[in-house]
């Protein structure tokens, strides 16, 4: 049986609800990687649930992915306008509540999370001023978060990097804090592709339920369609959160 390219908001097929977990994927106007993120969620065994930026119903999801793209064209600043979406306030509340909803922000999603102040710092234009798309080597610095517990600490992984505004910046005090609190989740290995401070590729909040990173794990989940045409390192992000949800290691 053939399936159609799903419209946004229609991730019903094919599902594989082994874990019973429901993971929300948010779509803003201009979001690009929502269907890819939904595919990654399904590939990990969970159910992908479409969340529309203008809605306020979190639909009882167990975790949320804010995917990449150019929401509102990134015209003002990446993530600047999306941050004010009704769905974002719901997500922020849930992330900060006792339930500590796991939230993963990828690329534009990371930018939205920093604009929302759920994560520290911000992103400015790449130091070389160009869009860059490449297979990127990362080191998992913190495997104690909801989205990284399936990795070994210090493990090197390859996932896709593609962005225009990926240079992570924060003041020195914040950077020191991040380091001291082990909140740098990922750093670039080999070459720093956008001039990020301290080679930071991703960070987490204090509780470890909110993680943001510039590279795209959802593009490295399937042999033949990812980095090097082989890499599937991205899948572990999504299986990690399932482990987290069933009370596995943090």
């Amino acid at each position: 049986m053939s399936t159609e390219l799903p419209l946004i908001g229609d991730y019903s097929t094919p599902t594989n609800e082994l874990s019973g977990a429901r993971i929300g994927v948010v779509t803003f106007p201009g979001t690009l990687d929502d269907r890819d993120a939904a595919r990654a969620v399904r590939a990990s065994g969970a159910e992908a649930v479409s969340l529309w930026h203008a809605d306020t119903d979190l639909q009882d999801v167990d975790a949320v992915v804010i995917p990449g793209g150019f929401s509102y064209g990134d015209y003002l600043r990446a993530g600047a306008i999306s941050r004010f979406a009704p769905m974002m306030s719901k997500i922020a509340d849930a992330a900060n509540s006792d339930a500590k909803l796991p939230v993963l922000g990828i690329c534009n999603g990371f930018q939205i999370l920093t604009e929302s102040h759920l994560l520290p710092g911000s992103m400015i234009k790449n130091d070389h001023l160009k869009f860059i798309c490449r297979d990127q080597l990362l080191r998992v610095e913190n495997n104690q978060t909801a989205w990284t517990n399936g990795f070994e600490a210090g493990q090197e992984i390859t996932i896709v990097l593609k962005n225009q505004d990926g240079q992570y910046v924060a003041d020195e005090k914040t950077l020191d804090e991040l380091e001291a609190e082990n909140r740098i989740a990922f750093s670039y290995v080999g070459w720093n592709p956008n001039g990020s401070r301290r080679s930071i590729a991703g960070v987490s909040n204090k509780a470890g339920n909110v993680v943001g990173l510039m590279p795209h794990p959802e593009h490295a989940i399937e042999v033949g369609f990812g980095p090097d045409a082989r890499g599937t390192d991205g899948l572990t992000f999504f299986t990690s959160v399932l482990t987290h949800l069933v009370g596995g290691k943090k």
Binding site: T3, P14, P29, F70, K130, F131, Q164, E218, H219, A229
Partner: protein
Amino acid sequence: MSQEATKEFNIDTVDNAAGTPDVELPWAELGLKDNEFAEIVKILGRRPTAAELAMYSVMWSEHCSYKSTKNHLRQFGQKVTDEMKKDLMVGMGENAGVTDLGDGWAVTFKIESHNSPSYVEPYQGAATGIGGIVRDIISMGARPIAVMDPLRFGAIDHEDSQRVVHGVVSGIGGYGNSLGLPNIGGETVFDPIYQGNPLVNALAVGALRHEDLRLANASGVGNKVVLFGARTGGDGIGGASVLASESFDDTKPSKRPAVQVGDPFAEKVLIECCLELFKASLVEGIQDLGAAGISCATSELASNGEGGMQVELTNVLLRDSTLTPGEILMSESQERMMAVVTPENIEAFEAVMAKWNVEYSWLGEVTDTDRLIITWDGEVIVDVDPKTVAHDGPVYDRPYARPEWQDALQADTFKSSEAGKNLPATGEELKAAVLELIASPNMCDKSWITNQYDRYVGGNTALAAPDDSGVVRIDESTGLGVAIATDANGRYTFLDPYAGAQLALAESYRNVATSGAIPAAVSDCLNYGSPENPDVMWQLAEGIRGLSDACMELGVPVTGGNVSLYNQTGDKPIHPTPVVATLGKFDDVARRTPSGWREEADGQAIYLIGT
């Protein structure tokens, strides 16, 4: 008509035109020839109104009417066998051809040029080139799934090349990346012949379910015509619009932009919005707005459908309130679409617009008259048979002849040249020659370009740069997909216009075949100089003859394409450059074969196949 409106625009109504046969009209400035203007008067039985003149002049331009090439392009439709047509669901003539893929899937693809705008303003010119070709794909009812960009620039070390090359590449990336369409390939060629005339061709491919196929036609009396997407501005009307004379008095319109600026965010929203419309079957016919804007959309929708169309032009949402009716009809503002909707579906249509926050306005409806009637505040300013605007434009049999210099050109081999006397003889010299060759800008690594393009978005890219063809999966459950390669060689085609076009096809066909796909369809972008030059016209005629013969020989139909003429700097035409895109089918892209050996396994055998 109110006195106010008369004063502001001096609206030239049909009645007024009938009563004032001797008013001078700026038809020559609008690019019409005297015989063409005379033909318009004959068709209408009176002088055209300013608005009608605007419509005819843009629709009868070379760009929209193919008046110099129509007679030759026919061969693409004639040199076909039933076998070649077997999988063809929509052939040439629509916005893009559609090929059956099996399993209820179809694919549509097309290549187009945006050469001259990309020279004037490289970033925006290239960006809007991507935008335009993607809208062609949407208008077939398809979801765009990938883009490609065959590019040709002047010498890499020329002072102007930096502006053009970096502008074009970032424009293509800036727009394509923001749409979420993977860039799966292209070409980059440097040659001084393209110095003042770079070639920026853009290809888009889309996938659709058979039942979602939409065509550009307006049928069903009483159905409503809607314009949606961006507002209409003065884009593409050009500097000081000659239509200023539309107001036949001294009130000058405000400035018209010399270039169009693309809004990829608006286009991305438009894509999703259209797909929802298709899925819910909310539009009967749909047309993208590109060159010739509303003139093109209304006249094509009306002439392809049954019946006529009535449109009230003051309903068009404007970005610039000083636009005259003729300018509104000619405007090339980007990111707009026109659709025909049944009255029952209006509410649902508006709900989709509201969801995506897209502006729209109801312009008019389909009528039973066979006429395209456009009013301004109720006054009739256009009353034409839409076919005369959209399809019955002038057709020219331009004279052509094999240039006298062609023999000398072919005789002038490298071996007989000064440099040729120093052909590498020793191993050392050969090594130096090889190094020189691979260091040339045309041979060297293109990742400095392709790394600025997102090749992963969508999660379906099975091959992209540096492979010989791009491969995308369409159906996740079966692996069904397509391979596409674009190729051209202006130098070969200059030497032999017939064989050169065939070689372009042969190369793209081979690239698709070696990736493991079965070649199934061809789209071409014919970049040539001025058709009024018999030498160039001969190159063009030979190119089309060569390509159509080769398609017949290989059994692949041309499903659509684009002709770009007048590519020249001063009197010097570019090399004839027919860019050919071949599309191949995969029943499972898992079987795609990358170029080169990627697996780190020693001991693989290398074969050389062919002659």
